[in-house]
Amino acid sequence: MSWAIEVNNLNVWYGDKHILKDVTFKVPKNIIFAIMGPSGCGKSTLLRAMNRLLDLNPYARVEGQVKINGIDVYSDNIDITWVRRQFGMVFQIPNPFPHLSIYENVALGPKVNGLVKDKSELDRLVKRALEQAYLWDEVKNDLKKPASMLSGGQQQRLCIARALALKPKIILMDEPTANLDPVASSKIEELMLELKEEYTIIIVTHNPQQAARISDYVAFLYMGELIEIGETSMVFTRPKHELTEKYVVGRMG
């Protein structure tokens, strides 16, 4: 079986603080993989270690391997921008570039990374990404308007379109519904189920119900350690570890 991503003995420190401790796991392709755990357990750090967004933090130090298609993203001489565009990333706060138009928000990534030959190919890519994010019908007449005019839920779907336009293999989502109302949240969840046909989705959530609803596999992270990992139905019905059980029934977190 070939894996979407393999993480081997990943350790992360912020200064002297050991944030992730020997984390090892593999994610199969075309599934939704949820990483759940209480605040401060290292979930977001784990996500950012995968696409090397952690490099932005001058105090972060990483050891271990993260392999996509057999290539370790931490190997020497690797092109970091190449690494980053293998992943699409969606953040906790909807963060489109508010001063750019809706079109430009989606087009920017493919443009600077040279993924398209000409304007018409770019137009098609932008349209397809917006369609995949279920946003096209709502914005097709407003493509030139600034992204700041969209509602929170629409902005988050625009961010998903921006991520999809990179044609990534893996989509990383860092609590993508934490700042949305229930209606907008369930729209994003539906969208994720749709997207896993084509992509592998790794979602971080502090909400075990969300993990139970949408994920195929789930990992429970606690104080930087991977406590349990497995098929979602198994982890939620018959957790092997006491901490996991406490967490999923809501006595912790």
Partner: protein, 299 residues
């Protein structure tokens, strides 16, 4: 009366004093300059003449001098101010950041007579030797450079003004740039942008702050008096090129006020110039502050 009430009343009274002074200044500018506008109308603005003996005053050269030097100064300062702001907010190692910002803020608060002195004795000869004379020699066919340069002229005044306003404009831009939310930078990096591409996006994001900073700097440049008076040449002629000696309204007032009261219309003429400067400054500062307010609302 309770102490809180006394404090409140005193505060209100003092605030009204400040407001009253501003209004009083506007009124006296208008009243005192009224005779020259009554006598000459708009010719006072559109004519080029300064002849106290015949009591003829038309401030067009000084008005143009003010507009030319201040806009050229802002033009020259723009790339420098943006670069300095981005450098200190994004590129310089954190431990040197405070040092750079302190030096920049210190430069912004330096008394302008120091800039004037330095401009006159150091900057002017260097500019003349290495920039103005070569520009005139090789590009003299362009009207802007057509006059044979002397060290003190409109161009030197513009460059000196640019140097003076860079720290001021760049501190406004720097504040806005540092306030860019971290999650926007993360988003930019996450789609595979390089550091320089991210900086380009970030500059676009603070565009309004950049305009605001430049507009407020323009207001400062227009009002700057001493330093400009020391390097602008102080010749009352309609400028034909950047290398002409000239006047600005502040430098005109500073140079002419000592003997103004010997003539009937020179005091109104100087006040008229001041009123024009006040009005232009008002519009520009108003616009700059409006842009800043827009930036604040956005963030």
């Amino acid at each position: 009366m309770s102490s809180g009430k006394i404090f409140y009343n005193t505060l209100t009274f003092l605030v009204f004093i400040s407001l009253f002074i501003v209004i009083a200044v506007v009124i006296s500018l208008s009243v005192t300059s009224y005779p020259i506008f009554l006598r000459d109308g708009l010719f006072f603005i559109s004519k080029s003449v300064w002849n106290p003996v015949k009591e003829e005053y038309g401030i067009l050269p000084a008005l143009l001098g003010t507009l030319i030097t201040s806009t050229l100064a802002v033009g020259l300062a723009t790339p420098l101010a943006i670069s300095l702001a981005v450098f200190s907010a994004e590129i310089v190692p954190p431990r040197f950041r405070a040092l750079i910002n302190n030096i920049s803020d210190l430069m912004a608060s330096l008394p302008s007579v120091i800039y004037g002195l330095w401009g006159l004795f150091i900057l002017a000869p260097i500019l003349n030797e290495y920039i103005m004379i070569p520009l005139h020699r090789y590009l003299g066919f362009i009207p802007l450079f057509s006059t044979k340069p002397v060290p003190t002229n409109l161009f030197t005044a513009s460059v000196l003004l640019a140097i003076m306003i860079v720290p001021f404009a760049s501190s406004i831009i720097r504040e806005a740039y540092s306030a860019i939310p971290y999650y926007l930078k993360e988003a930019a990096y996450s789609i595979g942008l390089t550091r320089w591409e991210v900086i380009k996006i970030a500059i676009g994001y603070v565009k309004s702050a950049i305009f605001a900073g430049l507009f407020l700097a323009l207001g400062r440049a227009m009002g700057e008096t001493v330093a400009v008076a020391m390097v602008v040449g102080n010749i009352f002629n309609l400028p034909k090129s950047l290398f002409d000696m000239g006047y600005t309204i502040p430098s005109l007032i500073a140079n002419q006020f000592p003997n103004a009261e010997a003539y009937n219309y020179m005091v109104p003429a100087l006040y008229g110039g001041a009123l024009m400067l006040f009005l232009i400054g008002l519009v520009i500062n108003f616009f700059g502050l409006y842009l800043i307010k827009k930036v604040m609302i956005k963030s």
